[in-house]
């Protein structure tokens, strides 16, 4: 109505008390129905955008170069686009990347559940993360009943945003940072860093670890893995010690992007305020902002057509440069394969070539696995891809030198450019 209502009438009265670390979002939803309902929308979202969106389309079909690039690693078998938070549990259980044979020493650990469920904060408190990660995926399955929910981001008593993932808290501690001292606006990005970050499983205990000790820039992460002597897998036929980058949204966005430097947070774009009658609340229907730019970007940019066009332009530039990098890396990889097959390569040169292949691919993957096709930090995306291209070409030249074979300098265009819908 037209008459203004007294402010007190708008304050929310909690209807039920929510236990600490309550895994069941439906219970929180009694007090906060708008937030709960919008979180539930993430279950059925299915609309795609040019480069992303909410269906689980296959990246391997869209860009078959990636089958080559991830050769010998589970990502070459099954790699889909992400879906909404309410599907996290279904999707982790369904992926063909899992190895559920617990007698195989390479079976999937429980660690893979770390970012998929609101049961985790409770389980981590109960078991400790070390014991959690020491279990197998299979063993953990009965304990996990809820997809991502309120307890992954909020403290029940105060509803404030919290770091819930021990790997995040520990990584910050090693950097000398205490999340408790972060401002509210910083927390509006930090809660996403519970999950949207590069990670690895440390040691035999598969202990979930964020490789941030040297910093969160791509070269600092490479240096970390180098010092740790870590590899995700060995590339078949070449035995190159490869690294897989995974959803480094937080690292990439905070690496001096326009929006980050302007003080914008993940939630500003992905959880914009929406209106329900008189109340404004944060939409918990987290998905691509290109599906609702008026709500998302419109909070700050009055001309939404303009900003949406800019995203399209930036993503196209990044997507094309990504393909240039992929072709260069495949050329390098082919050269290294041939050099290894030759059998008489100069070992120093060949090892250096493999090392550069590892680095070039991680740089490319950092941009590729990051889910915004460059938009979160356009200049950084293109700077890293330039370095990836140069590094890949230098790897190729070293491989050729290691056996003195000119044929290894062949360049190719593998597949047509990916088609976008």
């Amino acid at each position: 109505y037209i008459q203004n209502q007294p402010a007190e009438a708008r304050a929310v009265q909690p209807l039920v008390e929510i236990a600490a670390l309550e895994p069941d979002s439906a219970r929180w939803g009694i007090n906060y129905p708008n937030q709960y309902d919008t979180l539930m929308n993430t279950k059925t979202n299915n609309v795609d955008t040019t480069y992303a969106g909410s269906s689980a389309f296959s990246w391997l079909e869209r860009d078959p170069r990636q089958v080559i690039l991830f050769g010998g690693y589970p990502f070459s078998k099954d790699y889909n686009d992400d879906r909404g938070h309410a599907n996290a549990l279904d999707d982790v259980r369904a992926t063909k990347r899992l190895n559920l044979d617990d007698s195989d020493p390479k079976h999937t650990p429980a660690t893979c559940y770390s970012c998929k469920s609101s049961d985790n904060p409770g389980l981590w408190t109960e078991l400790g993360m070390e014991a959690y990660d020491a279990m197998s995926f299979n063993e953990m399955t009965p304990e996990i009943n809820n997809s991502i929910g309120c307890s992954n981001c909020h403290e029940a008593e105060t509803m404030r945003l919290v770091a819930t993932n021990p790997a995040l808290i520990e990584a910050l501690e090693r950097q000398g940072k205490d999340w408790e001292s972060f401002s509210r606006q910083e927390m509006r990005s930090l809660v996403c860093a519970n999950c949207h970050v590069e990670y690895y499983f440390k040691g035999d205990g598969k202990y979930l670890t964020f490789p941030w000790d040297n910093g969160t820039k791509v070269e600092e992460i490479i240096a970390y893995y180098e010092e740790a002597g870590f590899k995700d897998w060995a590339y078949p036929e070449t035995d190159s010690p490869m690294l897989k980058a995974q959803h480094p949204e937080y690292e990439f966005f905070t690496a001096g992007s326009t929006h980050y430097e302007a003080g914008v947070s993940c939630a500003d774009c992905h959880m914009p305020y929406v209106r329900d009658g008189a109340a404004k609340y944060s939409s918990h229907d987290v998905h691509s902002p290109l599906l609702n730019p008026e709500e998302s970007c419109g909070q700050c940019h009055t001309d939404t057509d303009y900003v949406v066009d800019r995203v399209a332009k930036i993503q196209q530039q990044v997507a094309e440069t990504k393909i240039t990098a992929e072709d260069a890396i495949i050329d390098a990889m082919n050269a290294i394969k041939a050099a290894v097959a030759a059998g008489d390569a100069d070992p120093a040169l060949l090892d250096e070539a493999k090392k550069l292949h590892r680095e070039a691919q991680f740089m490319w993957d950092f941009i590729s696995a990051e889910n915004s096709t460059g938009f979160h930090n356009p200049e950084y995306a293109l700077e890293v891809l330039s370095n990836s291209i140069d590094t890949a070409r230098r790897a190729q030249m070293l491989a050729a030198q290691s056996v003195g074979d000119m044929d290894l300098l062949a360049t190719g265009t593998y597949y047509a450019e990916p088609e976008t819908p």
């Binding site: 109505y1 037209i2 008459q3 203004n4 401002s183 509210r184 606006q185 910083e186 980050y260 430097e261 302007a262 003080g263 914008v264 914009p272 305020y273 929406v274 209106r275 009658g277 008189a278 404004k280 609702n292 008026e294 709500e295 419109g298 909070q299 700050c300 940019h301 009055t302 939404t304």
Partner: protein
């Protein structure tokens, strides 16, 4: 045939009278910014205006209504008021409220009206001025980033460091 319009008008007058009574309509004839802010839909514009550089010199109506003469002032006030009220009562509130072209033209006239001294060289160009003042003066009207959909405390970006 001849009585129909009279009945219609009669009903309309009655309805309007009732409406005026319940809605404290007299206020809507005035120019107090608080009246605009009565609609929570206008909250963020109000708050951003109140924190902006013009709050002590220009009210909503100074910018948003034409001032060339008394008639056009009230004609436009009526038109906009009816439009806003209709949208509000029917709950047909857009996600992000945006100024119409017509609104922008009215506002532009008003910027120029107050600042004619300052902008005479700009206006004197051989080609017409083809942009709105707030394409450069993005913060004058409604805060740091122009009008925004977010509540004031959330639209002013928090310092990160």
């Amino acid at each position: 045939m001849s009585k129909l319009p009279i009945i219609a008008i009669g009903i309309a007058v009655l309805a309007l009278g009732y409406f005026a009574l319940v809605s404290d309509a007299a206020a809507y004839g005035g120019s107090a910014p608080e009246t605009c802010a009565n609609c929570h839909a206008m909250d963020s514009q109000y708050e951003n205006w109140a924190h902006g550089g013009h709050a002590h010199v220009a009210k909503c109506t100074d910018c948003h209504l034409p001032h060339d003469n008394f008639v056009s002032y009230y004609m436009e006030k009526g038109r906009q008021g009816a439009k806003d009220t209709y949208a509000f009562v029917t709950g047909n509130i857009p996600v992000a409220i945006r100024a119409e072209e017509k609104t922008k033209e009215i506002v532009q006239e008003n910027c120029i009206h107050c600042h004619e001294d300052t902008v005479e060289a700009m206006l004197a160009g051989a080609q017409p001025l083809d942009r709105y003042c707030w394409e450069c003066h993005r913060s004058v009207a409604h805060g740091e980033r122009g009008a925004t959909g977010a509540p004031y405390q959330d639209s002013v970006l928090y310092p990160t460091k």
